[in-house]
C-alpha cells in the first residue's frame, strides 16, 4: 500500500496528524480515516463480531461492515463508526474494536477454532438449561465476548441541536443524478436542498479521476449550484429516514471530530426537512462475492479500491486480482493497472464483451474468463488466491482481491413509508417500487448505471419535482439539459468512460457463475471446492453455511432468516449482505428472488447518535419547568423542592425538621394545632361561563350544580364515559352564569380538553364557554384552628366571620387592585380557606399571610404534609383515583344519589363493577409497634399464604401524629373489608410483613366538627 504522488482530491500540502490504536499517523486534508489508515499501511482495522477474525477495510462508504472504530475519549467517546465515513481531522483519536489484547494477536480469535459449534442459533440451543432463568446468567458472559465498541460512560459535554428546514425540492445524494436534479429544479425556480452524506459532493463521480471529464463536469456543476441563491448544498449530512408528509430526517455533522467544539457550537444537528417534493438519487452499493476466507484483510470491493486510488491517491495493492461477474469492475482494474499495479481479472462469465477484452489488452490487464474465485489464501492478510477454472485450479499470488458481485440500488429511503422494492431480473437487483406522491427517483437507485442516462434521469426528476410542488410556474420554466460537448456536458462522460458502457455493466452472469458462488461453500449439499468460511454478512459473522442451516431448521422466511442468523442486524444493517442472503435462500427454497422478498427497510439508514435525537431536550430542558408565583419564596425559605409532573413544588421546609420524615410530621402537627399555609397555585382552574353553565356542570359532574347558590362552593366528581372516576375538585358559583372550577394538578390539562370536547362535539347547543385561568391566579390554602384569626388579621377590611363566610362559602374582594377570592374549603379536615388572587401579586399575598399569621403560629407546609393530612382525613386523591376505580370503589356513590344524565352514568353501572370481590376503599391502621405501613403493600388474610395478588393493596400511608400510629388508605375486596378485621400487609420489595387492622377511612373528626363553625 502506498500513497501516490499524484491523483486524488486530497491536499498534500496540508498534513493531518491522528492516532490509530495509540500510534501516531499522518494523512492529508481531504482524507477519510480509512484512506489515511490505508496510506499508513494499516491492514487489520478490527476484529470480527463473533469469531474475532482479523478484518481489513472493505469498502469506502457507509456500507462498511469491518472497519468500525471508536473515536474520542471520555464523554466524547463514540463507538462503532465506520472509518470509511469519518473525515480525517487534526488530533483525531481512533481505536479499533473487539480485540484483546491487540489487533494482531487476539485471544478470542480461538473462537474460530470452535467455529463449527458456533453456527447460527448456537447460543440459544446450548445455553438453555437447567432452568428457564439460566439464559440470563449465561447471557452476561456471552455478551462480554461478542460485541462491538464500548460507549463512553461519562456525560457527553457536547451540544446537539434540532432544527427545522423547509424546501420545495429536497434532493438526496449529490452524485451525478442528484446534481442534475438539483440544478433542474433550481433553474425552474424551486428552493432546493441538496443533501450529501459525504464531506464532499460528487457521489460516484469521486471514483473517477479529478482531471478527467467526469471531474470537470462535477467541478462545473458545483460552481453553478454555488452561484444559485435558491440552492443549499448540505454535505456531511445524512438523510436517515423518510417520514409522512415528505419529511426527511437529517443528521448534520459539524466541523472536526477531534477538536473540542467551541462554546455553543453544536457537534451534530438533527434536521427535520419538510419538503414539498423529494428526489431520491441515493445511488447503489456494490455487492461482495462469497468464497472461502472472503473476509481476509486485503479483500475489498472493487469500487472501493478504485475510490482509494482516484479520490485519495492510495494504491491499495501491487498484485491485484479483480474477481467479478460484471463489467463495472473492469474500470477499477484499468485504473489500478494505470497506477502501476499488476492486475488480473478473474471473470466468472463465459464471454465478456469483446471491446472490454480489447481495452484490457491495451491496459495490460490479464483477463481469465470462466474463472471463479474459490478461496483467499493467507492468515493476517491475503497472500494468494485460488481460482477454479474449466482447466482446473489455479493459485495466483496477490496482495489485493478486488471483488464485485454486481450492484444493489440503495432503495432504503424510498421504502421507509412502506413502498416495497421490486425485483428487476435484467440487473438482478431490487429497485424502488411505486413511491409516494411528490417523490421521484433518479440515477443508479433506479437501476440505471450509464452516466449519460443517470444525468438525464436526474434532470427529468428535478423538473418533475418542481412541477409537482409548483404546478403554476411549471409552464414557463423549462430546463434545458446542458448542450453536450461544449462545457463537458453530461452526455460526454458516459460515452468516453471506460467503466460505463452502453450495455449495462451489470448484465446477469450465466447460470454456472451463480452456481459456483454457492458451490464454494457447499450450500445445499453441493461439492465443496475449498475449505474455509465464506461470509455473507461480514459484520455479524454470518456465513453461507449459516443460511443453509437456517433453511434446514425451518427458518425460511427472510424475516426469520434474519432473526435466526442475525444477518443484516449489525450497525451496517446488511447493506452489503442482504441481497446475497435473499438469493441464497431463494436458491435453497427453489423459488424466484422476488417471491422470497426483502426484509423491511426502516429508518435510520445509518446510525444516529441518541444525543442528536435528544438535541437540547435534556436536563432542565427535557420538559417545561413550571414555577408557581410563590416559587421564589419557597426557595429562599429553604424548601426542598420536588418535581411533580411539570411543576416544582415545596416537598417540605428544612426549618421543620432534619429530614422529610421529621419535617412533615412537624408541619402536620402545626396545621392541626395552630395553622399551616400551603401553595396550591398548581391546581387547574377553569372559568365556566354562559347561560347553560349550570346545565353543563350537571352533565359533567356526577353530583348536581344547578341548585348551587351564587357564592357557594361544592365538591364534585367527574367520570369518564366508561364509568371510571376521572377527576375531582371543587366548583364555586361566582355568578349566576359563571362558575370557577378547580381540578387536580395532574389532570388539569385533560379535564380542560375534555370539557372542550363535550362542548364542541357532543353538546354544541349548550351556550357555555370554558377558559383555562390556571395561570392567572395564585392560590394558597391556610388551614388549622387559627386560620380564621389569621385571615382576619391579613385582610382586616373583610368580614371573615362564620356568618359571612361559612363552610363552602365564597368571599370576593380586591387585593392590590387584583381580584381576590376566598373560598372556605377543607382538604385537610381543619377549618381552612383557599385564597385566590392575581398571579402577579401572589407572592405578596403569601407574605402578607405569613406576616399576619406568625403571631398565631402559622408555618408553611409542603406536599408531604399535604398528602398526610388528607390521608388522615380519608380524602381520596391520585393514588386512589388511578383510572381503575369507580364511584362505588371509592365510597362516593352517594354523591350521585339518584341522578341520571351525567357522563359515565350508564356504563358506571356495569355488572362487574358491583362484584362483591371488587376492592373498595378502606382505612388501615398498623397494629404492630415500631413498624410502618407502605404504599403498594399487598393485603392478605393472616390465614392465607402470601402469594399472588392478594385481596387488595395499600394506596396511601402516613404516620398520624394525632393518633400516634401509622395509618393508610387501601383498596380491599369487600368480602374482607369488615371493620376490625386484621390483615397482613406484605411489601415484597423490602420483604416486610406487617399486621394492619381495617378501620373507617375517616381517621379523625368523623362528624366534621373541626371545619364547621
Amino acid at each position: 500500500m502506498k500513497r501516490l504522488n499524484k491523483l486524488g482530491r486530497i491536499d498534500r500540502s496540508q498534513p493531518v496528524a491522528f492516532t490509530f490504536d495509540g500510534k501516531a499517523m499522518t494523512g492529508f486534508r481531504g482524507d477519510s480515516l480509512a484512506s489515511a489508515m490505508l496510506a499508513n499501511g494499516v491492514k487489520i482495522a478490527g476484529r470480527s463480531f463473533k469469531y474475532h477474525r482479523p478484518r481489513g477495510i472493505y469498502s469506502a462508504g457507509p456500507e462498511e461492515p469491518n472497519a468500525l472504530v471508536t473515536l474520542g475519549t471520555g464523554g466524547r467517546r463514540e463507538p462503532n463508526l465506520p472509518a470509511t465515513t469519518v473525515e480525517l481531522a487534526d488530533g483525531l483519536v481512533a481505536e479499533s474494536q473487539n480485540r484483546w489484547p491487540s489487533l494482531k494477536f487476539d485471544l478470542q480469535s480461538i473462537n474460530s477454532w470452535f467455529s463449527p459449534f458456533l453456527a447460527a442459533g448456537f447460543y440459544y440451543k446450548t445455553f438453555m438449561g437447567p432452568t428457564r432463568r439460566s439464559w440470563m446468567f449465561y447471557e452476561h458472559f456471552i455478551r462480554k465476548a461478542a460485541g462491538l465498541g464500548r460507549a463512553g460512560e461519562q456525560p457527553d459535554p457536547d451540544r446537539y441541536e434540532v432544527r427545522h428546514l423547509f424546501a420545495d425540492v429536497a434532493v438526496v445524494g449529490a452524485g451525478p443524478a442528484g446534481l442534475a436534479a438539483a440544478l433542474a429544479a433550481a433553474e425552474a425556480g424551486a428552493n432546493v436542498v441538496l443533501v450529501e452524506q459525504d464531506f464532499m459532493a460528487g457521489g460516484y463521480l469521486l471514483s473517477e479521476t479529478q482531471d478527467g471529464e467526469a471531474g470537470a463536469w462535477l467541478a462545473g456543476m458545483l460552481v453553478r449550484l454555488a452561484g444559485m441563491a435558491n440552492v443549499s448544498l448540505m454535505t456531511r449530512t445524512s438523510a436517515f429516514g423518510t417520514y409522512d408528509g415528505n419529511v426527511l430526517g437529517l443528521l448534520e455533522r459539524h466541523g472536526s471530530r477531534s477538536a473540542d467544539p467551541k462554546q455553543g457550537e453544536a457537534r451534530q444537528t438533527l434536521g427535520l426537512l419538510r419538503a414539498k417534493s423529494i428526489v431520491y438519487c441515493t445511488g447503489s452499493i456494490e455487492r461482495p462475492l462469497t468464497f472461502a476466507n472472503n473476509d481476509r484483510p486485503g479483500v475489498m470491493l472493487a469500487s472501493a479500491a478504485r475510490i482509494y486510488l482516484n479520490r485519495y491517491g492510495v494504491l491499495v495493492g501491487k498484485r491485484v486480482l479483480v474477481a467479478a461477474d460484471n463489467d463495472s469492475a473492469y474500470s477499477a482494474a484499468f485504473d489500478l493497472a494505470a497506477a502501476g499495479a499488476q492486475v488480473t481479472i478473474a471473470d466468472s462469465r463465459t464471454q465478456p464483451a469483446p471491446q472490454l477484452l480489447e481495452q484490457a489488452r491495451r491496459a495490460g490487464v490479464a483477463v481469465r474468463t470462466k474463472s471463479t474465485i474459490a478461496k483467499a489464501i493467507g492468515g493476517q492478510s491475503v497472500r494468494a488466491v485460488l481460482l477454479v477454472e474449466p482447466s482446473g485450479r489455479v493459485t495466483l499470488e496477490s496482495d489485493l482481491v478486488a471483488v464485485s458481485g454486481g450492484w444493489s440500488p440503495t432503495v432504503h429511503l424510498t421504502s421507509h413509508l412502506g413502498s416495497k422494492p421490486v425485483y428487476r431480473q435484467d440487473i438482478r437487483a431490487f429497485v424502488p417500487g411505486k413511491v409516494g406522491a411528490g417523490q421521484f427517483v433518479a440515477g443508479a437507485v433506479t437501476g440505471s448505471f450509464i452516466l449519460g442516462t443517470v444525468i438525464d434521469e436526474g434532470h427529468r426528476a428535478g423538473n418533475e419535482a418542481f412541477m409537482f410542488c409548483d404546478a403554476t410556474r411549471s409552464s414557463r420554466a423549462r430546463v434545458q439539459r446542458d448542450p453536450p460537448k461544449t462545457d463537458a456536458g453530461p452526455g460526454v462522460v458516459g460515452d468516453e468512460n471506460p467503466g460505463l458502457r452502453e450495455e449495462s455493466p451489470l448484465s446477469p452472469p450465466p447460470e454456472d457463475a451463480r452456481l459456483s458462488m454457492q458451490v464454494s461453500d457447499g450450500v445445499g449439499g453441493k461439492m465443496t471446492l475449498a475449505k474455509g468460511k465464506a461470509f455473507v454478512d461480514l459484520q455479524m459473522d454470518v456465513t453461507v453455511s449459516d443460511i443453509a442451516l437456517a433453511h434446514q431448521e425451518g427458518y425460511r422466511s427472510v424475516e426469520h432468516l434474519k432473526r435466526y442468523t442475525t444477518l443484516g442486524m449489525g450497525t451496517d444493517q446488511g447493506k452489503t449482505s442482504n441481497f446475497y442472503a435473499l438469493s441464497a435462500m431463494a436458491g435453497l427454497r427453489g423459488m424466484a428472488i422476488p417471491d422470497v422478498g426483502t426484509t423491511t427497510f426502516r429508518p435510520p439508514f445509518t446510525p444516529v447518535a441518541v444525543g442528536a435525537l435528544a438535541g437540547l431536550s435534556h436536563g432542565q430542558h427535557y420538559k417545561p419547568f413550571r414555577r408557581t408565583p410563590i416559587h421564589d419564596w419557597h426557595v429562599s425559605n429553604d424548601a426542598e423542592m420536588l418535581e411533580t409532573g411539570l411543576w416544582m413544588r415545596p416537598w417540605f421546609y428544612h426549618a421543620s425538621g432534619h429530614d422529610v420524615n421529621e419535617a412533615y410530621v412537624a408541619e402536620m402537627r402545626n396545621a392541626r394545632e395552630a395553622a399551616g399555609l400551603m401553595d396550591i397555585s398548581t391546581l387547574g382552574k377553569i372559568a365556566v361561563q354562559g347561560p347553560d353553565a349550570a346545565e353543563f356542570l350537571d352533565r359533567v359532574y356526577v353530583n348536581g350544580f344547578a341548585k348551587l347558590p351564587v357564592g357557594r362552593a361544592r365538591y364534585g366528581v367527574m367520570l369518564r364515559d366508561d364509568g371510571i372516576v376521572f377527576d375531582d375538585g371543587t366548583t364555586t358559583r361566582v355568578g349566576d352564569q359563571h362558575f370557577f372550577m378547580t381540578t387536580s394538578t395532574a389532570r388539569a390539562a385533560d379535564v380542560m380538553s375534555r370539557l372542550e370536547f363535550l362542548l364542541d362535539t357532543a353538546w354544541p347547543d349548550l351556550r357555555v364557554s370554558v377558559s383555562s385561568v390556571s395561570d392567572e391566579w395564585a392560590a394558597m390554602s391556610v388551614a388549622g384552628p387559627k386560620s380564621r384569626d389569621i385571615l382576619a388579621a391579613a385582610f382586616p377590611d373583610l368580614d371573615v366571620s362564620n356568618d359571612a363566610l361559612p363552610h363552602m362559602g365564597l368571599l370576593e374582594g380586591r387585593y392590590r387592585d387584583k381580584p381576590l377570592r376566598i373560598i372556605r374549603l377543607s382538604f385537610s379536615g381543619e377549618r381552612a380557606y383557599e385564597i385566590y388572587t392575581g398571579a402577579s401579586v401572589g407572592k405578596e399575598a403569601w407574605c402578607r399571610l405569613m406576616e399576619a399569621g406568625t403571631p398565631f403560629g402559622l408555618k408553611p407546609y409542603g406536599l408531604e404534609a399535604l398528602g398526610a393530612l388528607r390521608v388522615e382525613k380519608g380524602h381520596v386523591a391520585g393514588p386512589e383515583i388511578d383510572g381503575r376505580t369507580t364511584l362505588d370503589d371509592l365510597g362516593l356513590r352517594r354523591m350521585a344519589g339518584k341522578r341520571s344524565g351525567f357522563v359515565g352514568e350508564v356504563l358506571g353501572r356495569r355488572e362487574a363493577f358491583s362484584d362483591p370481590e371488587r376492592p373498595r376503599l378502606v382505612g388501615l391502621r398498623c397494629v404492630e409497634d415500631g413498624k410502618r405501613l407502605r404504599g403498594g403493600a399487598i393485603l392478605f388474610r393472616p390465614s392465607e399464604p402470601v402469594q399472588g395478588h392478594g385481596l387488595g393493596r395499600i394506596t396511601s400511608t402516613t404516620y398520624s401524629p394525632t393518633l400516634d400510629a401509622w395509618v393508610g388508605l387501601g383498596l380491599l375486596a369487600s368480602s374482607a373489608a369488615q371493620e376490625g378485621a386484621e390483615l397482613i400487609a406484605h411489601y415484597p420489595l423490602k420483604g416486610e410483613a406487617v399486621r394492619a387492622r381495617v378501620v373507617s377511612p375517616t381517621f379523625l373528626d368523623p362528624k366534621g366538627e373541626w371545619f364547621h363553625g
Binding site: D244, R274, G418, S753, E756, F757, P764, V906
Partner: protein, 88 residues
C-alpha cells in the same frame, strides 16, 4: 410527520395536536339510558384500512376540536373541519 391544515391556524405539525380517536361513532344523548348504545359508543370500533374520520384537537394552537379524515394506509389527510361544523 403529519401536517394538519387547521381551518383556524393553517398547516401545522401533528405534534401540536391531540389525537382523540374515532369520530365516526356517534355519541348517545347525555340522558340516553340505553346500555347497548353507550357500550357501542365507547368500546366498539371499526378498524378500516383506508379513509377514517377521527377527532384531533389543536391543543397547542386554537384549541378547536377538529374532524380529520385520514387514510390509515398511507396517512394522507383527506379533509379537516371544525367538528362543530362537521357535526352540525
Amino acid at each position: 410527520m403529519l401536517q394538519i391544515k387547521c381551518p383556524c391556524c393553517g398547516p401545522r405539525d401533528h405534534d401540536e395536536f391531540l389525537y382523540a380517536g374515532d369520530a365516526s361513532v356517534s355519541r348517545p344523548a347525555h340522558n340516553d339510558a340505553d346500555f347497548e348504545r353507550w357500550y357501542r359508543y365507547v368500546f366498539v370500533r371499526e378498524n378500516p384500512a383506508g379513509a377514517h374520520r377521527e377527532y384531533w384537537q389543536h391543543v397547542m394552537g386554537c384549541r378547536q376540536w377538529l374532524i380529520v379524515e385520514r387514510n390509515t394506509v398511507n396517512h394522507t389527510i383527506l379533509s379537516v373541519n371544525f367538528s362543530r361544523e362537521a357535526l352540525a
